[in-house]
Amino acid sequence: MRATKFTALAAATVFAISLTACGSDSGDSSGDTGAAAPMPTTAATSMAPSMGTDMVNFGPGCAAVPADPANAGSFEAMGKVPVATAASGNPLLSTLVTAVKKAGLVDSLNSADGITVFAPTNDAFAEIPKTDLDKVLADKKTLTSVLTYHVVPGKLAPADLAGTHTTLQGEQVTVTGSGENFMVGGAASVVCGNVQTANANVYIIDSVLMPKS
C-alpha cells in the first residue's frame, strides 16, 4: 500500500533527523557540551582517557561481572585502566591477580604496549589440586612461565582470535572457534570474551593453560 510507504518514509525522515542531529557525539567534532558533560560522571570515580571503542564483550560468563560502573570490576571501569589493575578490581579473577603479583608481573602487564590476555577464573584455578597450585605459586620461574603462556602480543579482536599465536612465554597456543564460541589450547572455553582494558583485550577462560615446558 502506498499509505504504508508514506508512513515508512515519514518515520524514516524523522528518525534520520533525530539520529543525525545527535550523531555528532560519535565523531571528533562537535560543540554540544551540554550533553557531553554529564556522561563520564555516571562512572568516573577514576580518571582516564575515553576509549572511544564500540567493541562489546560476549559470553555467558559476562553476567558474573559486576554491573555497577562505579565498581572497579565492571566492564566500564576495567576499560579505563591497564590490564593488571583491571583484573585486580574483578572478584572473578582474584586468584590470577594473586599469581601475577607473586610473579612480579603487575607492572609488565600494565605497561605492555598492547596485548591479549587469556584470564583463567578463580574456578579454573580451583580445578588444580591445591598442593600443585601452591607449588606453582611458590616457584616464581614456573609461575612466570605459566602466566606468560596466557599472554599474546597485540590486541586480538574476536575476528582475529582463531588461529595459532606465539605467546610471551615463547610457545604457541591455538584458538579454535568463531563468533562467540572459542576454545583456547583445546581445553579452555572462553566464558566472557573481548573485555576491554586500557592496554589489553581480555578473554576470560574456564581452565588454566599449561605450557609444555
Binding site: 533525530s18 554540544d32 557531553a36 577514576s46 555497577d68
Partner: protein, 500 residues
C-alpha cells in the same frame, strides 16, 4: 487513506520539520542547545543508577545512540498521537505540540549553566510543529470530499512531501552551520600568531636525549570531555572573581598583550599507574598567574583557585602554588604553537608540581578565588585529594616489558620526575639485587623530568628490572604500592624481560 493514518503521518512529519528547524536554529545561535541533545542530557542526568547500570551492561558503549533513538521514537509516538487526535479536535494541536515543547524547554533549562536562550530552539520546534500540523490538516473537510478512489489525498501527500523536503533541507543546513562553526575554532587557531616570550625558555642543555620534549600530537590526554570543546578565541573571556579586591574580565587579546613566559614543564596525571603513559614534557608559553592575581588582589583567607572550563569542569588549585614563585601560568602555547584544541585551546592553566587534576584546567574561562572549605572541585567531590602534589616517580622505557634480547651489554633507559623538587639520583635493581646508580642526563629544570640510562651486563635467563628515584630533598621513592586513587600511585616500576 484512513483519517487516523493521515493524522499519524501528519503529526510525525510536522514534529520532524519543527525539530529540524530547531536544530538549525541551535546550530546557528547556540551550539549544543538542539532539543534532542538537551532532552538526552536531561534523561541521562535523571536516570536512576540502576537503570544506567542496566543500559551499560546490556548495551555497552552503544547506550548513547540507543538512548537517542528511544527519544526519537518517543517524540515520533507522541507526534503521531497528537496528529490522530488533531484530526478529530483541533485543540489537540496546541496541547500535543505544547507538551513536546514543554519537555524540550524543561530539559534545556535543567542543564547546568542553562540560560533562557537555551529554551528558544525547543519553543521554535513546538510552534513550527503546531503550525505545520495545522496546515497539513487545515482542509480536512474539503479534502475528504475530493479523496480519489485509490484512497490517497494528493493535496496532503504534496504538503507532506514539501514539509519533509523542507525538514531535510533545514537538517542539512544545520549540519553545515555546525560543521562550519567547528572548523572556525580550528581556523582561528591556525590564524593566531603568538608573540615571542618576554622571558623565553632556556635552550635545552646539550646531551638531552631525543624524547625529552613530548610532541603535542602524542602528549597524553585525560579529561572528561567526550567532545573536544571548540572555543572561538575572539569571543573567549576569562573572568577572575570571588575573594578578590577587584573582579576583572580579560579577552584573549588582553592576554597576548601581557609579558609572556616560556618554560619546559613536565605534566602528569594522578591516575597514572606505576610505569604508566600519562606523563609528558612540553615547552609552554603563557601569562604568569602570579602577576595577574596581584593585580586583582587576593583577599586574605582565600586558599583555593577554582578554575572553570567552558564545559563546566572545575579544577581546584591551592592559591599558594600560584604565588610562591613557581611558573604557574595561563598557557596559550604548547611546543611553539597555539594550544591544540584537545589540550585546552585557547587557554589552560598549568601549575608545575601539581597533577593535572589539581592545577591544569583546560579550556579555562573562569578563575574563582575561594577556600577549600567552601568548595570541592569536580575530582575532590569524587574522593580525590584536594592538594594534588606530584609524587616522585620513575619509569623504565627501554627495554619494554617481556622483551627478549641477546646476552651482553643492554642499555636500560627511562625517565624520572619530581616536579619542583627535581631528581637527584636514579637506581636500578636487577632481580631484586643491590641498587646500582644510573647515569642522569642533563635536564631543563626541577620542573621537568630527568632522563636516565644504565648499562646492564645481561646474562641468560628471565630477569626483572626495577627502578627507583631520589628527589633533591633526599627522599627516596617509596616501595610501598599505592593505587592512583586518591592522590597518586607509588611503587617501583618493575618489568620482566628474557635474555636468550
Amino acid at each position: 487513506m484512513r483519517p487516523g493514518l493521515r493524522g499519524a503521518i501528519s503529526g510525525i512529519v510536522a514534529a520532524g520539520s519543527g525539530i529540524a528547524a530547531a536544530e538549525l536554529l541551535a546550530a546557528a545561535i547556540r551550539p549544543g542547545a538542539g532539543p534532542l541533545v538537551m532532552v538526552g542530557g536531561a534523561v541521562i542526568d535523571a536516570t536512576p543508577t540502576a537503570l544506567k547500570e542496566f543500559a551499560v551492561r546490556e548495551l555497552g558503549t552503544s547506550d548513547k545512540p540507543v538512548l537517542l533513538a528511544v527519544i526519537g521514537g518517543g517524540v515520533a509516538g507522541l507526534a503521531a498521537i497528537t496528529g490522530v487526535a488533531a484530526t478529530r479536535r483541533r485543540a489537540a494541536i496546541p496541547v500535543g505540540t505544547g507538551l513536546l515543547g514543554a519537555v524540550g524547554v524543561a530539559a534545556a533549562l535543567s542543564r547546568p549553566a542553562a540560560t533562557l536562550l537555551d529554551a528558544v530552539p525547543a519553543l521554535l520546534a513546538a510552534v513550527l510543529a503546531g503550525l505545520s500540523l495545522w496546515w497539513l490538516l487545515r482542509q480536512r473537510g474539503r479534502a475528504a470530499t475530493t479523496v480519489p478512489d485509490d484512497g490517497v489525498d494528493r493535496r496532503l501527500v504534496l504538503r507532506l512531501s514539501l514539509l519533509a523536503a523542507g525538514a531535510g533541507a533545514m537538517q542539512a543546513a544545520g549540519m553545515t552551520v555546525s560543521g562550519q562553526r567547528e572548523n572556525a575554532a580550528g581556523r582561528s587557531r591556525e590564524a593566531i600568531r603568538l608573540p615571542a616570550a618576554a622571558d623565553p625558555a632556556r635552550q635545552l642543555p646539550t646531551g638531552v636525549a631525543a624524547e625529552f620534549t613530548t610532541p603535542s600530537g602524542t602528549f597524553y590526554r585525560v579529561d572528561t570531555a567526550l567532545n573536544v570543546p571548540r572555543v572561538d578565541p575572539s569571543a573567549w573571556r576569562l573572568r577572575i572573581h570571588g575573594m578578590v579586591g577587584r573582579e576583572v574580565e580579560l579577552s584573549f587579546a588582553d592576554l597576548l598583550q601581557r609579558p609572556l613566559i616560556e618554560r619546559d614543564i613536565t605534566l602528569n596525571c594522578v591516575s597514572n599507574e606505576v610505569g604508566g603513559p600519562y606523563v609528558g614534557t612540553a615547552r609552554w608559553l603563557g601569562v604568569p598567574l602570579a602577576a595577574l592575581l596581584r593585580e586583582v588582589g587576593v583577599q586574605p583567607g582565600a586558599d583555593q583557585i577554582v578554575a572553570r572550563s567552558v564545559e563546566g569542569m572545575t579544577i581546584g588549585t591551592p592559591v599558594v602554588t600560584a604565588l610562591d614563585g613557581r611558573d604557574t601560568m595561563l598557557a596559550l602555547g604548547m611546543n611553539g604553537e597555539p594550544l591544540p584544541l584537545e589540550h585546552g585551546f585557547p587557554v589552560r592553566m598549568l601549575t608545575p608540581g601539581l597533577y593535572g587534576y589539581a592545577g591544569a584546567c583546560k579550556w579555562v574561562t573562569e578563575l574563582e578565588l575561594t577556600t577549600f572549605d567552601q568548595f570541592d572541585a569536580y575530582w575532590v567531590k569524587r574522593g580525590w585529594g584536594s592538594q594534588g602534589t606530584v609524587k616522585t616517580a620513575s619509569r623504565i622505557d627501554k627495554p619494554k616489558p617481556f622483551d627478549r634480547m641477546a646476552a651482553g651489554t643492554v642499555t636500560v633507559a627511562g625517565v624520572a620526575w619530581a616536579q619542583r623538587r627535581g631528581i637527584q639520583a636514579v637506581e636500578i635493581s636487577v632481580d631484586g639485587g643491590p641498587w646500582a646508580p644510573a647515569e642522569l642526563l642533563p635536564t631543563a629544570s626541577a620542573d621537568t623530568w630527568t632522563q636516565w640510562r644504565f648499562s646492564w651486563q645481561a646474562t641468560g635467563g628471565p630477569h626483572s628490572l626495577a627502578v627507583r628515584a631520589t628527589d633533591r630533598d633526599g627522599a627516596v621513592q617509596p616501595e610501598t604500592r599505592a593505587a592512583p586513587f586518591p592522590d597518586g600511585a607509588t611503587g617501583w616500576h618493575t618489568i620482566s624481560v628474557t635474555v636468550a
